[in-house]
Amino acid sequence: MSSRVEYGWRATLRELFTYKSAILGIAILAFLVALSVYAVVTIPYDQAVKLWRGSENVWINNPRNALPEWWEWFAGKKLPRTLVLDSRVTGFGVSKAVTPVVGTDMKLVTINYIIDYNYDDFPSEVNIFFSARYQKNPPLVKLVVQKPGGEEIEFPRFSLRAPNDSLYYSISKDVLSTLVSYYASKHGGVNVSDRLTSIELTFGRASREGLESGALEVEKGMYRVRIDAVCFGEDSDLDARIVVYGKVHGPAGTDNLRRPLEIALLWGAPVALAFGLTASLLTTVLQMVIATIGAWYGGVIDDIIQRLTEVYMILPFLPFLIMISAFYKIDIWVILAVVIVLSIFGGGIKSTRALVLSIKEYPYIEAAKVYGASNARIIFLYIIPKILPPLVPGLISAVPGFVFLEAALSFLGLGDPFLPTWGKVLNDAFNAGALYRGYFYWVLEPAALLMLTAFAFAFLGFALDRVVNPRLREM
């Protein structure tokens, strides 16, 4: 009984879809491809690099180390989002009034912010960014904070030190001492716990017990922040932007440089896929050609290739890569090239060679020689198309290896320093001690995406292997 185990492309695809693992793999891959396309389309490469490299000022309006927004479901409470109110932007909650002082060149600038705070947790940070215009003398600024319970806290006046000065409210020692003394006097000699931060004192319900124990609840309601400033000079002006930083941001959170992780996670997808697929594809194709030529011609050529392969297989791959990247400045393309060069004479050559050696003896090769096909023609038109299908599952299954390789290099700090990739995110997280500090999402998100990619290719590769390799089928 002749068992015809070879099928055309369409039949192979049809058979592939009968395997649930293949469908799952393809679904995940489709998702990753969609992610990649979205990433590349919405944030072009140059912009992505610039954004990721960007200094603090690019992301200044983002909270540091914020959790992803969906974490709310697990936390069970409403976590604060970032609120930005800018006097230059007309809108709800901000108002600005400029009153010139008659008879002088001074102006009184009053900016009022209304913050309706309804979250179950404190903000992570509060900053006020000033933008002033003046000739000689900088404006004199007074800050007043009014809490929903009616408490009004006045802060001592200060002069701006530069046209673009900032008040880092949450870490300022002056602010803290003002708050502490306010509450100390208000509650008559209470010993304010030194665990309490400016944020807690500002946004918390300051009861006597709370102040002493150092545990305050969030006070929800309307907060008013007023900036009274005196500007000097005809053309002087003052604008201010208050940022009440939340604890969550975006679908993926932020890192310690306030960068939204979703950019790196999004951009990591096309990089991972492109790198993995390109490396795997080029390596497989080159190995295939080399193995076929060696196996076909035999003799000295085959011997040289085999010995070369054996030496290559003994060489330690990763240390080489580490050495190269330690000594030379590298980017992702160089990494790709080096990885391919170091993989060409790998173990795949031995198995492909065995395959070619057996195909060499097939009758149709003999027939081709009889009607005059040249060696080159036989290699490229008769042998390679035959060995291609068995190599495809291996090609697919090798992709995760290369993806992890790139991630490992980035993680070790040896990868492309500017490209936002998943490995780079892990590297940043590691360097910032993310797990120590409880920023688990920073590590889990890229790791999960890496594993998802690996699963997708692994499922697809296994299913393809069973389709292409008839012996693994259940017949």
Partner: protein, 329 residues
């Protein structure tokens, strides 16, 4: 086999395969073809009959220059092609064709039938694309694979063994060769299909006047196919004769044993034993001196075991390599 009109002349052809004997042994040779001589006229069909290991397949492949002969001469259309390098043999490859035993193995599984038939034409730069298309469809018609448009764009796995052998025949004939070697072309096919394929080959051979070398182990098929039969044993042609003559009057003891061993469908067969010589063919690595059939031959003499017999022409067009006929020319 007139000497004047000769397509192929084989003179004392030898084909020895080198084989490594273990790690420390030297090289030993398997003497697959060990001194074969004959001529083939244009349009003549010859059956080469032998068991596995007789060297018949190697003979066919060597004649097609798939191997370079170890010794002897191979002369085709008057030109000595024994040691010609492959690059200079394109003209010869255009003149020859091969039909192989395994129909599925003989076709590249990833090419359509059309493409498979186009390959020889492309390689030898025959015709334009349209002309080639015509030739391919004609070839399919000739081997009765109709409707041709249907078959042309199928893949090998979609065809049965018999149909694929027709494709193989079409492929072998598409360059209009003058010599075709068919190596066990029907032994992998079902019994009812064999006749069809053999008949087709015979028709085409006669119509186009192609010389055929039909290699087989099944003596019963030869009478329907060829004018001559060569019997091969252990690398030698032990008997050569016209088909009828050989089947009616077998001379060599091996030929006789072969004929005695083959059953026809006859209910009387089960009631008696067949008289056949015991043993098996000798190793081709160290063949015995003298006649290679001697160890099994019921008529072997001392001389048979010592000296290899030459070929004797016992009657016109009937040659035997056996000391029993030393009286003849």
């Amino acid at each position: 086999m007139g000497e004047d009109n000769v397509l192929l002349r084989v003179e004392n052809l030898k084909m020895w395969h080198a084989m490594r004997r273990g790690l420390f042994g030297g090289v030993v040779y398997v003497r697959a073809v060990d001194g074969v001589t004959f001529s083939l006229a244009p349009g003549e069909a010859v059956s080469v009959v032998g068991e596995s290991g007789s060297g018949k397949t190697t003979l066919g492949k060597t004649i097609l220059r798939l191997h370079e002969p170890t010794d002897g001469k191979l002369i085709f259309k008057g030109r000595d092609i024994t040691h010609t390098p492959e690059k200079e043999l394109m003209w010869f490859k255009r003149e020859t064709g091969l039909v192989q035993q395994d129909p599925y193995g003989a076709m590249p599984s990833f090419m359509t039938i059309y493409r498979i038939l186009e390959e020889p034409l492309i390689i030898h730069k025959v015709g334009t694309k349209e002309e080639r298309s015509e030739m391919i469809f004609k070839a399919l018609e000739e081997v009765r694979l109709t409707p041709v448009e249907d078959f042309a764009f199928k893949y090998p796995h979609m065809l049965s063994g018999g149909q694929l052998q027709r494709v193989a025949i079409a492929r072998a004939l598409i360059l209009k060769p003058s010599l075709v070697v068919a190596d066990e072309p029907v032994s992998m096919l079902d019994a009812s299909v064999r006749v069809e394929i053999l008949t087709l080959m015979r028709e085409l051979q006669e119509k186009r006047g192609i010389s055929f070398i039909y290699i087989t182990h099944d003596l019963s098929t030869t009478r329907y196919f060829s004018e001559w039969i060569f019997i091969m044993y252990a690398g030698h042609i032990v008997e050569r004769a016209r088909t009828k003559a050989l089947l009616q009057n077998p001379l060599h003891p091996y030929t006789r044993a072969l004929l005695a061993a083959i059953p026809d469908p006859d209910p009387e067969n089960r009631k008696r034993f067949r008289e056949v010589p015991p043993g098996e063919p000798p190793s081709l690595v160290n063949p015995p001196p003298g006649c290679r059939f001697a160890p099994r031959c019921p008529y072997a003499t001392e001389r048979c075991r010592r000296e290899e017999p030459p070929e004797f022409e016992v009657e016109p067009d009937h040659f035997v390599k056996c000391w029993l006929y030393v009286g003849a020319r």
